[in-house]
Symmetry: C2
Subunit: 160 residues, 2 copies
DNA sequence: TATTGTTATACTCTATAACTATA
DNA sequence: TATAGTTATAGAGTATAACAATA
């Protein structure tokens, strides 16, 4: 009945147990985020967009005339970072940078027709990407996920 | 009844509308992840740990004898990145790198007593950090969040 | 030949700080 | 003085590729 004793200390390809980490929302969040982000990156690459550039394009298209500072605040990044993103979008003629009559320090950002068209195509692909990714979830589960993520975001803002 | 016409084009501090982005799990995930990660970073900084180093310490403590390659796989990073993390933990005598009898190419990683003690303190603080952050959630909501994040992680793995 | 750990290198993303032109 | 945008620089964090030792 006794099984044969293994001869070598055997570098058995053991399963690593991460149960101690799975208790934490942070660990699960990081893993989910990194996989989702990598997948999304691949989708947007076909349009020459990175994730933040995509977000910027949607924000500009949906808020015609916003300034770079407003965009920085909405994206939660510094103004200096927005410059590169806006440079990129403008050089590809997806947005325009117009002077604001009342304040010559700031620019009014607007999506061009080409920009809105690219946005439409990208949005369709991102929707498809999420449908694929979240195929195992019901509509309610997906809504619940988004709701709970919003709570985390706001909780972190308050908790600091 | 007609309100007085504003005289200047007014650079009104408008609210930027991100509704077009809020439909996406990816956008909500990124924002939640970034805020949570920044908050967690501040907590772990008191222990001289970064998030991945913390994860590595817990994995090593919970899987005595695992190799660097196994750790790399568990952390979803390259072996070259593990070297830096292991160097850091070993130089602080939180883990040991022992030769494996059967295979002289690899090392067996083990947490020292000091490593396990630091882990215990850090885990307690991270638990407190998450309790603070997720204070608005019920126990069920928190469990549901973790479950749904796991689905995203696995969905992305399959979808590729 | 393949694998483990290592090193050197490069790239992405973002922040900080100093600058300019306006206000 | 303060603000919008810009520039230069630096720092995380990670990947890639080549290598030595060992299997």
């Amino acid at each position: 009945m006794k099984p044969a004793r293994a001869r070598k200390p055997a570098p058995e390809p053991r399963e690593i147990d991460d149960a101690a980490l799975r208790e934490f929302a942070g660990y699960n969040m990081k893993r989910a985020y990194l996989t989702l982000h990598a997948d999304l990156l691949a989708v947007l690459d076909a349009f020459g967009l990175r994730v933040t550039t995509y977000s910027a394009l949607l924000l500009i298209a949906g808020n015609a005339g916003l300034t770079q500072s407003q965009l920085a605040q909405a994206l939660n990044i510094e103004r200096s970072g927005v410059v590169l993103i806006v440079d990129d979008l403008e050089s590809r003629e997806l947005i325009t940078r117009d002077r604001v009559p009342g304040d010559r320090r700031s620019y009014a950002l607007r999506a061009t027709l080409a920009g809105r068209r690219l946005r439409d195509k990208a949005v369709a692909q991102v929707r498809a990407h999420e449908a694929r990714l979240l195929a195992g979830m019901t509509r309610d589960e997906r809504a619940e996920l988004i709701r709970l993520l919003g709570m985390v975001e706001r909780g972190a803002a308050e908790g600091s």
